[in-house]
Symmetry: C2
Subunit: 165 residues, 2 copies
């Protein structure tokens, strides 16, 4: 018994239930595969239907939620990507008449970006298609199963990895 | 009635059940968030515990499965990334003594890459930790729920988006 305990304390990294652990590893690979699959299909559909990209859609979606627009730093923080990446995307969307840069009152150096009227219309059309595509692809999940799966995903998303170096 | 049908035929993109469609859209955002969260935690843990990256781990995992090694083109195809990206990663792993390039018999121009003995040992240690991290993070999903969730994810991953341009 004491031997058994000694072995356990040497193997703090070992998982408590090997079968469940292997099943969770397979579950993670499926989670990754399903997400990459849907992202790939969305990327392809945005390209063929709207000649646009997922990052451009994400920028428009972030701005569609705020009438007054966002500073570049706010936009980067909402999208959790670096300012440099967002700048290039915003430049192209401004060229396309989808976004405008607006000076900020009381701050000569700052500008916000917001959707133009044309940009709002384009986004509405894209968002409707986006929802229909997701509905098609996630139609594999029955309405009665959605809640349970959402809860599980939310629990996963809020779980920190134990730092055990 | 005929008016109603005319409207419907004009709106082929409209979803059949708006409430379920919104729920699936929220489910997709949670799927994406959970996946990005786990990926981010793994990236951080690989960095702090092994001073390595997810793409390096993926290359080692692909090679751990084949004793004889893989040609660069085979490795790229397994990993579904471009040859150029894989080349840089392989170069560094060769420098680190984790991989070796081996000439292919009967083909002077071709080489395969395979794990060295040290590489195999390193990979075994990394794979054990990787499994423990996943077990910790996906511990939010009870063992009894794993199968149902796996099935749903498999159905999502095999669903093509309807091309309705």
């Amino acid at each position: 018994m004491s031997d058994h305990r000694a072995i356990q304390s040497d193997q703090l990294d070992a998982v408590s239930d090997p079968a469940a652990s292997k099943a969770r590893l397979r579950l993670w690979l499926k989670l990754l595969k399903a997400t990459k699959h849907v992202e790939g299909e969305l990327r392809e559909s945005f390209r063929t239907d709207f000649d646009t990209t997922l990052p451009r859609f994400d920028v428009m979606a972030a701005l569609d939620r705020v009438e007054a627009g966002l500073k570049m730093s706010e936009l980067s923080s909402v999208l959790r990507v670096s300012n440099g990446n967002v700048t290039g995307i915003v430049d192209r969307l401004v060229d396309d008449g989808v976004l405008v840069r607006v000076p900020v009152d009381h701050d000569r150096r700052a500008t916000t970006v917001r959707l133009t009227r044309a940009g709002k219309e384009q986004f509405a059309a894209m968002a409707a298609k986006h929802e229909a595509w997701i509905d098609e692809m996630l139609g594999a999940v029955d309405a009665s199963e959605i809640q349970a799966m959402s809860d599980q995903l939310e629990r996963i998303a809020s779980k920190r990895n134990k730092k055990d170096t």
